[in-house]
């Protein structure tokens, strides 16, 4: 029971209270870059959930059985980014061969994910919070869900910003940032709530 509660708390926190984009500021580049249309935002979100879950599992295993065992923890950053890059490449090749339909939908977002700081961030945070294997995977997947939630919500706001009337200097990016700020403000409402006492 208690493990279930712990996992539930991790999930809820990762999705809402500690949302990767709006609270932790991880993954802002794709958040800004691919949120102009809702369809692309959904595609990116799904790809991120997938990769974050896989990357959490892979980096956890590599850290536990390779780096800690060999006393090479200081190599974490280098090894993790390589694992993530290789993983993304592998997923891309696998999807292309096995699931062409899914590849069509997600393919173009995959290369962008290597440099998404949310992915490396989740790998490093898993270690920092000393999560177990299951906890890491759950944190990765739910962190990705949080990312998707934020990017999809934001893209629908942004579609409307396109043709609004505002000072010229604010047109485009600055206005999008301010809208994102207001979205972050609403997510603050989730911070600090307690799950199961």
């Amino acid at each position: 029971m208690s493990t279930f509660v712990a996992l539930f708390t991790i999930s809820l926190n990762a999705i809402l209270a500690e949302n990767f984009i709006l609270v932790k500021f991880l993954g802002i580049c794709p958040f800004m870059g691919v949120s102009k249309k809702t369809d692309t935002a959904v595609g990116m979100g799904l790809a991120v959930i997938f990769v974050m879950g896989l990357a959490s599992a892979a980096t956890w295993a590599v850290n536990e059985y390779l780096l800690v065992a060999l006393d090479l923890e200081y190599m974490q950053t280098v090894v993790f980014i390589l694992v993530i890059a290789a993983l993304v490449q592998f997923v891309e090749m696998f999807l292309q061969k096995a699931l062409p339909a899914l590849y069509q939908a997600l393919g173009i977002y995959l290369p962008l994910i290597t440099t998404n700081c949310a992915v490396l961030g989740v790998a490093l945070l898993n270690i920092q919070n000393s999560y177990s294997f299951i906890e890491s995977v759950i944190y990765g997947v739910t962190g990705g869900i949080g990312f998707t939630l934020a990017i999809v919500l934001f893209s629908s706001v942004r579609e409307r910003l396109e043709d609004c009337d505002c000072p010229k200097a604010f047109k485009g990016f600055p206005l999008a940032l301010i809208a994102a700020g207001l979205l972050a403000l609403s997510f603050m409402g989730f911070s600090g709530f307690k799950v199961f006492g």
């Binding site: 500021f25 980014i81 920092q128 700020g181």
Partner: protein
């Protein structure tokens, strides 16, 4: 390409944060005190110069197909070195920046400059590019920090000028909201709008000059 022009580009017309819109995660996340901003800015500048030099020196050796992977390994190497050195010699900075130091690896500025500049130019020009872009990044961070620290905590120079900095606003007035994530988005939004405005004015002036000629 002369240095003066590069500096102007790095600081204003092609500022990595305010014009190229790169590396925004760290820009918003850590700019709550001047100490953080300066520390992050300098770390990134050093890494950017080093990685630009090495990548430019190796640009003819690294095959095109694996260049991104090679760049990432080189960058990650420098980032880890800086991380370890900070932990050993400036532990206060390492504590307050936390996970954002290793995350410099995926800071798009560094990979971006490697791909856009260092892989095509000489070592010296790349070093200069690293320096000017790094200074531009640091400048953007410092401006963000000063604004957010003043409005959010009511102080100036926290961590740099004494532990609590210089208090400007009495403790009960500052708007806490500004040091929260919301404030990061809002401040950066306004700063980018300002940069766009300045850049447009500059461009207009140039055009007027040309017209007069």
């Amino acid at each position: 390409m002369n240095f003066k022009k590069q500096l102007k580009e790095g600081l204003l017309t092609n500022n990595p944060v305010l014009s190229q819109l790169l590396g925004m995660c760290s820009t918003m996340a850590i700019t709550t005190t001047l100490f953080n901003g300066l520390g992050m800015g300098l770390s990134v500048t050093i890494i950017l110069i080093c990685s630009n030099i090495v990548i430019s020196a190796l640009r003819k050796i690294i095959p095109d197909k694996i260049r991104i992977a090679a760049y990432i390994v080189i960058i990650a190497g420098f980032v880890t070195m800086v991380d370890l050195l900070l932990k050993a010699y400036i532990p206060a900075l390492s504590d307050s920046l936390g996970v954002f130091i290793p995350l410099i690896v995926v800071n798009c500025i560094i990979l971006g400059r490697a791909e856009a500049f260092a892989s095509k130019n000489s070592v010296l020009a790349s070093a200069a590019d690293g320096l000017t872009q790094g200074v531009g990044y640091t400048a953007a961070l410092v401006i963000m920090c000063i604004i957010r620290e003043f409005l959010g905590s009511g102080t100036f120079g926290k961590g740099v000028l004494g532990v609590d900095g210089i208090r400007i606003l009495p403790e009960q007035y500052p708007a806490l909201l500004v040091v929260l994530p919301v404030g990061g988005f809002l401040t950066l939004g306004c700063l980018i709008a300002l940069t766009q405005w300045v850049n447009r004015r500059l461009a207009e002036k140039e055009r007027e000059k040309e017209a007069v000629k």
